[in-house]
Symmetry: C2
Subunit: 384 residues, 2 copies
């Protein structure tokens, strides 16, 4: 096991009928900017619940944060925060709204051009305190210190991390997910699956507890996903999927492990250039990264075949790894997901060229061994 440090400062409030607790968690003297997305919170009743709970607080609003939240949009909110002396941000919605809110929180206190937080990893020294009512199980952003932001003008999608943007609290009421469109539910399931695999499917450093936990999450996710798609108002199934999503990216499961994240890096570019949903891009890329890097990931993929897919442990590791790759594709397809670039009308030769060139410009090498070169990214995308 590798050395690690860990702290999870976010308070989680999980369960039925918990939205009203927002009133007790934010001091009355705070001037709140409530951020949200395209307005689904007005249709599903969440907006009304939050506003009722905060009737004795001072609340301003900033709506319209997009999926893959845009720098340009978020900078409008930064202006409001500064002009109105906002001192608490409350994100109400999914992971995109929350990621955007984390950026607003950091950018409002940043001296210099906030884009450098993303483009150069400029250090964040302070942020407006923020919290969230999260309504989409997917990004795990509700219990971590990261965010991913896009820029329209340059087709870029970049991540940043800072302990200053940990949510103070996150309220998770699984009932808010009853009304999600099936496509978004599936995106969230795939996102959770791939988050877990970016932390699991690497090389072995003797972390049996962490492996049990990550594979246990995958088993649970696969079983509970089926129930959610069959019956979108099955409370326990919705709660179990949501808790998988939160735990899928609070880093708790994988402390002391090696991590990959190449699928995400390539997937982000597919979103930036072609507008694919995050969950769509991941389902396309993951199986081929595994195929290309099967030797590096052999032990872990083989273990997964036995533990998750019930394969015979005496089969050759090579065969077991193939079983995991194959069963993972089948799982994505069972969710109704298309998993080829051509399914989305994308010319793979063009995508491979554009994206590998961008990695070349950035001098980026990907994966847990930093051995996925831009040329290999080209090869991966040519097989997607």
């Amino acid at each position: 096991m590798n050395n690690f440090e860990f702290q999870a400062p976010t308070k989680i409030i999980f369960g039925r009928d918990t939205i009203k607790q927002v009133a007790n968690e934010i001091p009355k003297n705070k001037k709140i900017l409530m951020t949200y997305g395209g307005g689904s919170i007005r249709k599903n009743g969440v907006y009304k619940k939050v506003m009722e709970a905060l009737s004795e607080h001072t609340v301003m609003e900033f709506g319209g944060i997009e999926p893959n939240p845009k720098f340009e949009t978020l900078m409008q909110a930064v202006e409001i925060v500064k002009n109105e002396n906002i001192d608490f941000l409350l994100s109400v919605g999914g992971g995109s709204t929350l990621d955007g809110t984390k950026f607003i929180a950091a950018a409002a206190k940043f001296e210099g051009d906030p884009w450098t937080i993303l483009s150069e990893g400029a250090e964040i020294k302070d942020a407006i305190p923020l919290a969230d009512i999260i309504t989409l199980p997917a990004t795990g952003s509700e219990m971590n210190n990261g965010a991913v932001i896009s820029r329209l003008s340059t087709n870029e999608k970049l991540a940043f991390h800072s302990n200053f943007v940990y949510p103070k609290f996150s309220i998770i009421d699984p009932e808010t997910t009853y009304s999600l469109p099936e496509k978004q539910t599936v995106n969230g399931i795939i996102d959770t699956f791939v988050h877990t695999m970016e932390q699991y499917a690497t090389y072995e450093v003797n972390t049996p507890l962490q492996d049990q936990w990550m594979l246990g999450l995958i088993k649970t996710l696969m079983e509970e996903s089926k129930k959610v798609l069959q019956n979108p108002t099955n409370y326990d199934a919705r709660a179990n999927v949501f808790w998988c999503a939160t735990c899928g990216l609070n880093y708790w499961m994988s402390l002391g492990c090696i991590q990959d994240w190449s699928t995400h890096m390539i997937g982000h570019e597919l979103t930036a250039f072609y507008g694919l949903d995050h969950g769509e891009s991941l389902a396309i890329v993951l199986p081929r990264v595994w195929k290309n890097r099967k030797n590096d990931k052999m032990q872990k993929l083989a273990k997964m075949a036995v533990e998750v897919f019930g394969a015979n442990e005496f089969l050759p590791k090579n065969i077991l790894a193939d079983i995991t790759i194959d069963k993972t594709k089948k799982f994505f397809k069972s969710l109704g997901r298309r998993i080829k670039l051509s399914d989305y009308g994308i010319d793979k030769a063009e995508a491979a060229k554009k994206i590998s060139e961008r990695f070349k410009e950035r001098k980026a090498v990907l994966g847990e061994k930093c051995n996925i070169t831009p040329d290999e990214v080209y090869d991966i995308l040519m097989h997607c």
Copy 2:
């Protein structure tokens, strides 16, 4: 899944050669009282490492905190804290030293008789900040807000909880456990096993992720324990067992689940009256609590037989539950542990009478359904 709230404020610093980091984690202007136990930290080199790291800090010492830390001893430390204006407590040693330090931290700021914190659950409103270098994988105290304290004069052993006594940080260097006597290693393994089972083996409320995690911990613990006993300086095995112990009682695994804790309540009384080690008492009590409450715990015990002990899932649940009880006893015995009261020269009729009468006085009913009456405690102990 039940509703829950969770926050884990303790920063964990885990791995080889991490003790020196203590210097960066405590501000230089703090006046530290370093607490420890019977002096094993002088033999295993930990004392020297801590003192070297803190050479630029102001450090006083308070040694001699016993296993099952005593109220009488701890109150001496409280006097020192008050007289010397100590403003940071650093526990160096095992869970007993840390539990004792948590009590010192709370008692030093408590108005009134500090014993009422334990006897009456009197509210704690403040505490001296504390942290630890933990050297024994067992109690999980390094990442939770609880402590168990004993009183010599009345043969009592009682617990308290308060968010004010969460350690600010915990440093875990698995190499500090290389020199542990085998008896203490085994006590810690059993403590971790039973902590996990107090949270797992209850009734079903549809928490598949949590079940996977708790059973995954048990599988890992059983495999890694064997390696530790065969080779006490196997770093990875020591690291894996320690991480199991910490995760066994930070409540993370069992959020949204039902909890039991009757084995601990009865075990505490065996320690208070007869001086049994905590780990010894738990191994005696757990299997019989399960036997008595098999119907209540049937689903979970049966699931464990399949997932952990590889039993055939088509066997009747009743038989599967018996397999888990039997295999658990065998596991304890495989660690060299005796699991009957008579093995320790204790008259079970006397113990059953004394302890059941004490629960009668306290009007205590135990277990996840609060249905283990003092009369049933009598029956349980008569079969131990």
